[in-house]
Each structure stands twice: as C-alpha cells, then as structure tokens.
C-alpha cells in the first residue's frame, strides 16, 4: 500500500490531449511532497486516453487514472468519480486546461493544518494570452480566518470550486457531491461547501492559473443555442442554491447571492445582449424574467443602482431599458453610454417613464444622483443607432438616430458631424466621413453616404475590425456617440475594401455588432483569393507559434506608440530639443488648475494685460473642453506637442498650480507662480504624507518648486505657511492676488449682469447664498470624484426658497448633483470657471475649509463655516495651520439645524462678526488692496524692469 498522500488533486479532462500533461505536471511538481493526481477522463475521443495512460505509467505511485464509459457533458460526474477515488486527507480540483501554482498545495495544506479549517481558498489568476487578472482580488488581499461564511458573506462571490482545498472528511461528513447534468455545478457545490464549512480561510497566495482562451467575437448559431441552454442551467443552479440556503436557514445568504447575481452575472449577460439577434434576446428575456419574478423585490433595492435597473426592467419586460442600463454600467476604463431618454418627474430624473406607478419602481429607476441633467456632456457617450444601411454601387449609405437625453442637445447642434471609423485595437487610428445631422422630434437624425473602398484603407490582418462612432458638435462641446444596431438594418450588407496587404488579407467589409455593443465592420474574404487565404492566415495566427508572434507584434507596437506619444518622451524632447528653439519675446503661457479652467490669478493678470494693450501674445492651456476659454488667446491642449512647444518658447509662464513635473525651465523663461489660495490645510513638506516620503520624492518636489522665479503672496501668513511648507526659494511677490482685485474694487458690472442672466437670476431679489466646500478624499487618499452635500437641499428649498437662492459650487476636483426639481432655488454653478464673479454675486457664503474663506472675507459680507466633519478632516486627513474656531470670521456650525439657524440670522452673522472679519483680513490678506494685477503688469510687462 502506498503511503497516504496529503492531497489528492482531481484532474478532469475531456478531449484535451494537448494540455492535460501540463496540468498534471503542475501537480507532480508541487513543492509539497505527498500530492497525488487522479485523472478522470470524461470519455474523450481524441488522444487523451493515450496521454492519460502514459502519465499513469510514468508515475505509478502518484498518478491514477479513471475513465467514464459515456461522456457526461459536464464537470460534475468526473469530479465525483475523483472524490470517490481520492485517498488524500485533502481534495482539490484542477481542470485539464489550467495549472496549479508550484506552492499551491503547500500553502493551502499548511494553512488548513494550522487552522483546522474545513475549507481553504487561495487566489485564482485568470491568464489571458497577453495579460493576467486576479479573480476577486479584494477577497484575497490578506490571509483571513472565518468561523463561518456568515462572518463575511462576500465570500460567496468566489464561486469557483477549483482554487480551494477541501478537507476530505468534511466532504464525507457533509455528503458533498457535484450535481450531474447541469452546467455551473461549481456554483452549487461552492455554495453548499461555504454554508457547511466550520472554518474557512482565505490566503493571498496565488494557487490556481485559469487559462482563458479569448472567444471569437461572434458565436455560431449552435453556440448561441448552447449559450441559452447554459443560461437556463445557470438559473436552475441558482434556484437550487436558494433552496440550499433556505434549508440552512440562511436567507440572508440567499439575498446576498441574488444581489450578486444581479450586480454581476445578469449585468454580464445584459452587456452582451446587443451583439445577439432579436430571437436570442427574446428567449433570454423570458428565461431571466421568470427567475427574477421569483425573487423578493427587496433584493433590487440592495443592488447597485444600474444593475438594479437592469434587473427590474427585465422583470417587467422592458429589454431595451435593461440593456441601456448595462450600457451605462460600462466596464471599468470605458465611458458610460447613455442610450435611453431619461425623464423628469416631480423634480427627479428617472431612467424611463414606465414602471413609475409603484414606490419600488420609482425608487429603483430614480437616477437623479447620476447627474445626467447637469454633468458635462463629455462625461458620457451618447447612444445612437444605425437604422438603415444600403449599398448602391461603390457607395454605402448609412442613416440613424441619436438620443437627446432631457433635450440637452439644443438648437446649437451643428448640422455637420463626423462618422469616425476606428480601428478597434488602436484608439487613435480612424478614418473620417462627414455626416449631416438634424433635430427631429425628440431624437437627432443623421445620415451619410461614402465610398468605403476609398475612405477606409485598412492594413489587413492587424486591423480586422473597425468600430463606427459619431462625433457631433454642439456649441463648444463635442459629443461622442456609440452606434449600435438591433441587427435588422445591416443584415447581409457587404462592401468592397482593399487592404494594404493586398486582397490576400481580405476583400470585403461586413457589418456586425461587437460584444461591446458597438456597431462595427470586419474584414472578410468573400472572393478568391481571400476566401482561401484569409481563413488560412487566421488559422496560422491561432497556432502556438502564430500566437507568440502575434503577441510579440502587439507588445512592440504598444511600446512604440508609448515611445512616440508618451509624456516621458515629450518631456525628454522638451528638455533636450525644444528648449533650444529661440524664445518668442512677449509670449506668455497661462494655465489655471492644470488647464481645467480659465480662472483665478492667471485670468486676472491676462485681463489686466489686455486692458493695457501692448505687444504680448497670450497662450492658454486647456484640458478637456475649450468651453469658457477666451477667444483672443491661442489655446493649446495640455500635454499635446503644441503645448510643450509653446512652453519651450514662452518668455513667461504664469500658472496657479504647476506645469508638468520633469520639465526643466530654461533660464530665459520667467515663471510667475501665483498659487491658488492661502492655506488652512497643511501644504507641501508640512503635510504628513509628504514629510514621510522618500528622499527622491522630496527631491522631485523641490525641483518642481525650484522652477518658480516669483511667488505671489497675499499676506505674511502665506510666507509662513505656503512659502515654508512648499519650500519656495523664489522671492515672494508681496502684491496680493490679482483675482481678488475685483473683490476690493467691485468688479465689472457687465460681467456680473451676464452671470445673473446665465443663472436666470435677473431681477431676482432673493438673498444669494454661495456654498463652496473644498474636496474630500476617498479611502485611497485621492480626491473623491463625488461630493455629497452634507445637508438636506429639499429642506433648504422648503424653508428658504422664497427668500434665498443657493448656489452650489463643488471644488474643481469633484462634482455635486442638484436635483432638477430644485431648479431656480438651488443652482449648481460648478461649471462656472470663475469663482470671483460668483463671490461678487453672493450676499453670503457657506464654506468649510476651502481657501475661499480668505478671499470672501474681503467683501465684508456674512460667512458661515459648516464643518460637520471637522474632527476627522483636520486631525486625520492632513492637519491645519490654525484653529478655525479661533479665527473664523463667522459662526462655525456642526450640524444642519445650526446651519439653518445661522442662515436665518445672516444679519447677526454680519454684525457680530464684523470685528473678527476685519482682523481676519488684516491677518490673512494684508496685501490684497485691489492693485495686484496692475502691480504685476507694471513690474513685468510695461515697467522698465523685465524679470
């Protein structure tokens, strides 16, 4: 009798002779001795039996083989045979196309021995041909011991049976077997194991390599039928899991599992649905609908908002709305696509107008928080459709529609747009075709005609699929439209094309809908020779050697693109070459907040220069949209080659934050750093996270700050805090902030009138209150994208709507959402570039720790400091330079009631804090006397002393 092994690894195989040996080798090469492999062949018809026999013969003491008489069609029966034959104290499962990590058994078994756990689970990695991806990494960040799955029901997310090590007597005791004749047997097995296990441990060690073979983009009809059957199986498994949980009195687990089903599984199916034909969609809908109908409606309320909408609409038969929800819940790294027309009801935005009769429907379909009514139009892509596609001769005619959500695309839509035919593998490669666009009812219609053979010149082989996108211009914005099709318009249309690699690489383009939902063209071989050569070439590319070369090609190409367009390259070219170009006297590059705005001190210096006239050339850096930037300046996109060239040749750099790290400023250029506000929070080397950084991090910051030639300050406080904290070596320019001149002198009445008009506040006599909080950080310490307004806006509207109007301005790093129902009473002014004009308009300010407090104080108007999170913000986040309650020139309030009380009593805030305001201004803004811009212009641009 052989010694009892520690672990039996059950390797199941069906017609996989090519990879079985690799899998078994990974078992035999385990660093833990005492691991045996049990191969179970599910009645293979290829060379698998020979491979199996050879392995068993070569390692008689460590490999045993079993064969099923008839094919079972799944993984369940062969695994059960393996469990039955296992002699180890522990059992693991391995599929013939995957491998175990060398130390998998050692790590799992020592953990199980140490902890006595019934079940130990390790990290699984999905291995793609060109990359790797962790499977539920957040469950595997560190070793964790759970007494039961109830300690952390999130464990249920990992439904694989293969990355786990089961105690043999646990399986026996619980009578755990795989179900036969159903796909997704893993899900049920894992669910049963999780609820039964007495102790569960997860370890961060990689144990299982799951080799993923990329699917072809479209499925054959048999595959589609199979997929539907699979989906039916999946639902059946889910029903059985529900029953298991119910039997274990674990309804909470059932609910959580179903939340996961909606958030994850269903969403994946919905995302793919656009690429499926209508018949498939109908069949899918029926299957999904019946399962979702069985669920407790409470599940929907616990799901993530968009998947919940998807599931809810499937349940109510609205497949279009459900698929649109999946469009918007885009994969990470992709922009959401808005392909429905949301509706506004009772001041809230809803995903669709149907299903709003019930409270649950209203709650689930309420998408006000997405900010669809107020977010900039480039925050998402719009959904469009191709409704007609015809070929006439060499010409291809396309026509379709685009959604116009909430009518946000108005009359300023330009009648000409562009159809972009993009290489789907290379973002920046595209052919362009003009399209005509017009409004029609609530949709936008577009059409175009062009000769594909002339317009589209692919290389061939390396660029076989092309996505179709639209770009429409509306005012200063460009809207991007993701096109799709329901599958009827493009059926059978084929147009000729000439790849540069000749007709061997294909001769026609045919339309299809890719799995991403995007309407696309792919190269096909329709005539001789491509009919023969293209499939042959594709077969070659799929061989091991072909795949290797293909990957190498991809790597080299990506590296090359990075080299040619990367930031590092541009900076290197800047430092070595561009700075040798002659300086253009009188050119000034302005930038505010890294190009996000036309605002702040740089804007006001520019304006003063403009008023003075004189020979200068203003160049403004912008990132994102050009909207709001001045027409009389040259605009350069931040990070582009023109941007770097402009910086290299400029006589002056003027900005309020920092030009790209790594640029070495040439000595002929004068850098005026205006900064963007006095400091309450600790800055630079005074910030704990910076302070504890490495020497090279410190050096980098010093080099960046060392580029400043002049540093604008508005008080001695700035010198003690900013200059010291940032380690500024430049001379402090004690002139005050140009942006604050207007706060002292009263500003430009026309500009303010224009602002009032824009905000719809003409002849409005209500008190204007500006709420301008600073940003908060997320758990990673980065600025949180979303700012949650920490008081009840509805209550504000109820109590103050008659007498007050609230302007909300989020920090430029974050975004706030104001429900549309509060229109006219609460106004989101975050998109306004210039906060100075807003301050002039406001009768009072609510802020927290933002540097706006230093500026607004100059106006001698009431201020309220609303700091419900003061403790946390000041002590934990980064510390402050002074005690706010001690210096604040207005009431500091910590809760909503106190905030509203202070608002009710603004006169009091004005009167009682007058002295404090004066002291505050003296202390923090002594140089702000209304002449800053003039002083800078005279000193650098019109005076005798230049530089």
């Amino acid at each position: 009798m052989l010694p009892e092994p520690d672990v039996t690894v059950v390797v199941i195989v069906y017609n996989d002779a090519a990879r079985l040996a690799r899998a078994v080798r990974s078992v035999l090469e385990q660093s833990l001795p005492g691991v045996e492999a049990v191969i179970v062949d599910d009645a293979s018809t290829d060379a698998t039996p020979e491979v199996t026999a050879r392995l068993a013969a070569t390692h008689p003491d460590r490999v045993r083989a079993f064969t099923l008489q008839t094919n079972s069609g799944g993984c369940g029966r062969p695994r059960n045979v393996g469990i039955d034959a296992a002699r180890g104290r522990y059992v693991m499962f391995l599929d013939s196309d995957d491998t175990l990590d060398r130390h998998a058994c050692r790590n799992l078994v020592t953990t199980a021995d140490e902890t006595g756990a019934d079940l130990v689970s390790g990290r699984c990695v999905r291995v793609f041909p060109d990359r790797e991806q962790n499977w539920y990494p957040w469950l595997y960040r560190e070793r964790r011991v759970y007494e039961s799955v109830l300690d952390d029901p999130d464990l249920l997310y990992d439904t694989l049976s293969t990355n786990k090590c089961y105690r043999r007597d646990f399986l026996d005791r619980q009578g755990l077997w795989f179900v036969d004749r159903l796909h997704y047997e893993d899900l049920l097995f894992s669910a049963q194991a999780y609820v039964a296990a007495r102790r569960i441990v997860t370890i961060p060690h990689r144990v299982y390599n799951w080799f993923v073979v990329p699917r072809d983009d479209t499925l054959s009809i048999t595959n589609r039928r199979a997929e539907l059957r699979n989906f039916a199986d999946r639902l059946e498994i889910h029903r059985r899991i529900d029953a298991v949980f119910h039997a274990h009195d674990a309804d909470r687990l059932a609910r959580l599992k179903n939340v996961k089903f909606v958030n994850h599984d269903l969403l994946l199916y919905l995302r793919e649905l656009r690429s499926r034909d209508p018949e498939y969609r109908r069949a899918f809908l029926e299957l999904a609908r019946s399962y979702l109908a069985e669920l407790d409606p409470g599940v929907f309320a616990e799901c993530n908002p968009l998947p919940a909408i998807g599931a809810y609409l499937v349940r109510h038969g609205d497949i279009e709305g459900a698929v649109a929800a999946a469009d918007y819940a885009a994969k990470r790294g992709r922009k959401p696509v808005l392909s429905v027309e949301p509706v506004e009801r009772e001041g809230r935005i809803h995903w669709s107008g149907d299903q709003l009769q019930t409270a649950l429907g209203r709650r689930i379909l309420d998408v006000t928080d997405l900010g669809l009514h107020s977010a900039p139009l480039d925050a998402f892509n719009l959904g469009g459709e191709v409704t007609a596609m015809h070929r006439s001769g060499a010409e291809l005619r396309l026509a379709g529609t685009v959604v116009n959500p909430l009518g946000r695309i108005g009359a300023d839509l330009e009648p000409a747009g562009t159809l972009e035919i993009r290489d789907r593998r290379r973002k920046n490669r595209a052919f362009h075709v003009p399209v005509t666009v017009r409004h029609e009812a609530d949709r936008i219609r577009w059409e175009t005609a062009f000769a594909p053979a002339r317009r589209i010149r692919p290389v061939g082989l390396v660029d076989q699929t092309w996505g179709l996108w639209l770009r429409l211009k509306t005012g200063d914005d460009t809207v991007t439209v993701r096109l799709t099709s329901d599958g009827t318009a493009h059926d059978g249309v084929r147009v000729p094309v000439r790849p540069r690699l000749t007709r061997v690489a294909g001769d026609h383009l045919e339309a299809y809908v890719a799995e991403s939902g995007e309407f696309a063209l792919r190269i096909v071989g329709y005539r001789w020779p491509a009919r023969m050569t293209l499939p042959a070439l594709r077969r070659i590319a799929r061989t091991a050697l072909g795949r290797r070369w293909w990957q190498r090609f991809g790597r080299v190409e990506r590296a090359l693109i990075r080299l040619l367009t990367g930031r590092d390259t541009k900076i290197a070219v800047f430092n070595r070459l561009l700075v040798r170009l002659p300086v253009k006297k009188g050119t000034i590059v302005f930038e505010s907040h890294l190009g996000v705005q036309y605002s702040d001190n740089p804007k006001y210096i520019h304006r003063a220069l403009r008023e003075r006239g004189g020979p200068y050339r203003a160049i403004w850096s912008y990132s994102g949209s050009r909207r709001g930037f001045p027409a009389d300046a040259t605009l350069v996109r931040r990070g582009s080659w023109t941007y770097y060239r402009a910086l290299a040749r400029a006589e002056y750099w003027i900005d309020n934050q920092g030009f790209p790290v790594g640029l070495v400023k040439r000595p002929e250029t004068t850098y005026i750093q205006t900064w963007h506000g006095s400091a309450f929070k600790r800055m630079g080397f005074d910030e704990p996270t910076v302070k504890q950084g490495t020497r090279s991090e410190h050096d980098r910051l010093r080099t960046m700050i060392g580029r400043f030639d002049h540093f604008v300050v508005r008080s001695d406080h700035d010198v003690r805090t900013l200059v010291k904290g940032l380690g500024v070596t430049a001379e402090p320019l004690r002139v005050g902030y140009p942006r604050n001149d207007a706060l002292v002198t009263g500003g430009d009445p026309e500009e303010q009138a224009a602002l009032r008009r824009r905000l719809g506040l003409e002849d409005d006599e209500r008190t204007v209150v500006l709420y301008a909080p600073t940003f908060r950080t997320d758990e990673n310490g980065r600025p949180a994208a979303r700012f949650e307004i920490p008081f009840d806006l509805d209550r504000f509207a109820r109590e103050f709507g008659e007498s007050h109007v609230l302007l909300i301005r989020a920090h430029y790093l974050s975004r706030a959402v104001v429900p549309p129902g509060l229109r006219g009473t609460v106004i989101d002014v975050s998109a306004e570039h210039d906060v100075t004009a807003l301050m002039l308009l406001a009768d009072a300010l609510i802020t927290d720790y933002s540097s706006i407090m230093f500026d607004f104080a100059l106006l001698e108007r009431p201020m309220i400091f609303y700091t419900p999170d003061a403790e946390d913000y000041v002590s934990r986040q980064r510390g402050a330079y002074f005690d706010l309650t001690e210096h604040a020139p207005g009431p500091v309030v910590g809760d909503e009631a106190a905030l509203f009380a202070a608002l009710r009593d603004l006169d009091n805030a004005r009167r009682d804090h007058a002295d404090r305001r004066r002291r505050f201004v003296e202390h923090f803004g002594e140089y702000d006397t209304g002449t800053a811009a003039k002083a800078i212009v005279e000193r650098f641009f019109t005076g005798g002393d230049r530089g």
Partner: protein, 380 residues
C-alpha cells in the same frame, strides 16, 4: 530536538555595523547553540568592519577579497555588466564548493537580494534555498530592489518576510513562496530602565530614512513645556551636520544631545525613560524590540507593518500616523506628563516582547526547514 543541519547564511557582507549583520551573527549563534553547523557567508568585505567578537561558534567566509566593480553605470554598461557577471560566476563557484561540504539536510538562507544573485548562480547541491526580505514590502516597493526581489527570489523555495502583513503583501504580489519569520529578541537585559531620567532616546544612523529631522520638529513643539527633559540622539551618519543645524534653527540646541555612536545599548536605553522611533522606513524594528526588552515605552510612526506587529497602540506603546509630527509631539508630551502611563506601557511591552524570545522563533525556523526540505511533518 530537531535534526542537526548545515545552515548557510549568505549576506552582502557580514562585517558592517548594521541591523542585518547583527541579526546574522545573532541568529548564527542561536542556530549553533541548537547544534546546527552554521556558515556565515559575506559576498564582500565591508568598508568599515565591526568587531563581532572572537571564537565565534560558526565559520565566517567572504567570497570576494577585493571591491567589486560597479554593476551599473551610464557608459560602457554592457562591459560592466559582463564584468559583473564574471565576478558573480567566480564567487558562485566558491560558494558551490562551500555548499558541497554540507551533509544531507542542509539549507541555504539568502538574507539579502543582492547576495541571492550569487546563490542563484551557485550549485546548491540539492539544498533548499530560503530568501529573506529584511524590510517592509512597501519600502522594497519604493526602491530599485523591488524588481530584483521579484526576479531573484521567485525561484527560492521560501521567501521570508518579517511580518505576516508583509508576507501577505508579497504573496498577493505573486510571490507564492512568501511566508513570515520575525527576528528573535537578541538581547538579554541585565537591568531594565528605572525610567527616572528625563530623557527621550533615539539611536540609529543619523540619516534621512531614520527620520531624526521629523523627531526634531516634534521635539521643538513641546521642548519648551518640559525644560528639564532632554532628547538624546545616539549614532552618527551623513545627516549629522544638517540635523545640528536644524536643531539650532528650531531653537532646541540646548535640549538636544548628539551623543555619538554607541555599542552599549544597555546603557543607552536604561539611561532614558521614553524611546522614539521616528523612521520613514523600517522592516521589523530591532530598536523597538530592544526598547521593549529594556522596559521603555515607545512612541513610533506607523511606518511599516513591523511596528504594528510589535506594538499595540495604547497597550504597550503609542503609534502615530506616518509623518504626522504634531501627533508625534502630542504622544511624547502625553508620556512625559504621565509617569503612570510610561510605567504601564513599559511593563506591558516587557511582557509582550517575550513572544520573540529565541526559543519560540527558532522553533518556527526548524518547522520551516523541515517544510522546505520536503520532510513530511509528523501528524497528530
């Protein structure tokens, strides 16, 4: 008593005065005390040698007598690399010869990643290789060592980090051979601090990563409240002048003593009442272990998982967010004002440091040896 083994401990050098070298000599002695045959191997000599005593119970070998050519440089990189490879090859041959003297059951410990380059080239004669990372995962991640750890230690039979948290971080970063092994308590106090001297002590190289600059900043916030108290900095290093200047600028020259290097750790610690660990980077800070053993309460920046492994905030020490000098000053202030708190933290520390007494740690080592040697542990 487990089986007696040949244990090879390979370091960059074994002569310098540094934490790693001290660890190597200490653990070598402890292994030898348990009957193992220990070989300490340095790749090169140190610039400045420290005297680790005579009649060592283990052998010490240095592979290369002369300074090694620089492996990296901007010009002639190829040529230098070739020379470097030749050097490694020659050194590895000597190492192989040494390994061949081992009896069955031996193990090789590559205590540093640079040394691992030699071990990887050498013929280990079938012995398992244990790699070690003597700093926190984060510290490695931020340095150029990271790529080398990933490359050279990938094939080691085991990669030991200093704490469970660091081991987990390595494991999550695809080093599936990662495990944890703490440093043993390496001092046997003859006396403990009476905690009567009004002194805050910090010993260690005067260098950026040790963060004495941050300690001075903290000190400056509270020194004037406690005129009788002193901050005593032992050690020398590249930043000494800068630190003295900084102390003068902060106006605390009078209350800060630069006491110079010392090898009498007992005297240094028993002459103080509070220990301050102000580092930017650490692994498993030996100086905290020492302070605990000598009965000092510690204030430490949370700069590595090792700090939290050793101390529990508020129970046997005070832990402060990294770089937050204001909070660090507040913690010092609290301890200075509250003698009772000093006593209770110190007593708890002395008790809890016993986890790292040599016997406990060596047992863990023996289990790891058996594991990598492929010996199946007896089952209950």
């Amino acid at each position: 008593m487990a089986e007696a083994r040949d244990v090879f401990i390979v370091c960059n050098n074994v002569e310098e005065l540094g934490g790693l070298q001290r660890w190597a000599h200490d653990i070598g002695r402890m292994f030898a005390d348990r009957g193992h045959r220990v070989h300490l191997v340095g790749i090169t000599h140190a610039d400045r040698s420290h005297d680790y005593g005579h009649d060592l119970p283990y052998t010490v070998t240095v592979l290369h007598d002369r300074d090694l050519p620089q492996a990296r440089g901007p010009i002639g990189t190829r040529l230098r690399e070739l020379r470097h490879r030749l050097t490694v090859w020659r050194g590895a041959a000597r190492l192989s010869a040494l390994f061949r003297t081992a009896r069955p059951g031996g193990v090789v410990i590559a205590a540093q990643v640079w040394a691992m380059e030699w071990v990887a080239q050498a013929d280990t004669a079938g012995m398992p290789v244990i790699g070690m990372s003597h700093e926190s995962y984060e510290a490695t991640r931020r340095s150029s060592r990271y790529e080398r750890v990933k490359r050279h230690f990938a094939d080691a039979d085991l990669l030991l980090a200093l704490t469970d948290a660091d081991a987990d971080a390595w494991a999550f970063d695809d080093m599936s051979n990662a495990g944890a092994m703490p440093n043993p308590l390496h001092v046997t106090p003859h006396s403990v601090s009476p905690r009567t001297e009004p002194v805050v002590v910090r010993h260690g190289r005067l260098a950026f990563e040790k963060g004495q600059d941050m300690l001075l900043e903290s000190w400056a916030e509270i020194a004037s409240h406690h005129p009788s108290w002193r901050l005593r900095l032992y050690g020398s290093g590249p930043d000494e002048d800068a630190l003295r200047r900084q102390a003068a600028e902060l106006g605390v020259s009078d209350s800060v003593e630069f006491a110079g290097p010392t090898s009498d750790i007992e005297k240094a610690l028993t002459g103080a009442s509070i220990f301050a660990l102000s580092s930017r980077e650490e692994g498993f800070p030996m100086s905290i272990i020492e302070a605990m053993a000598y009965g000092l309460p510690t204030v430490a920046f949370d700069c590595a998982p090792g700090v939290r492994e050793l101390l529990t905030d508020g129970r046997d020490g005070l832990i402060v967010a990294p770089g937050n000098t204001t909070e660090f000053a507040a913690a010092l202030d609290r301890l200075i004002r509250d003698a009772g708190l000093r006593d209770s933290l110190a007593e708890a520390a002395r008790e809890s440091v016993r986890r790292y007494e040599p016997d406990a740690v060596l047992d863990r080592w023996e289990r790891q040896f058996a594991l990598v040697a492929g010996e199946r542990a007896p089952r209950a």
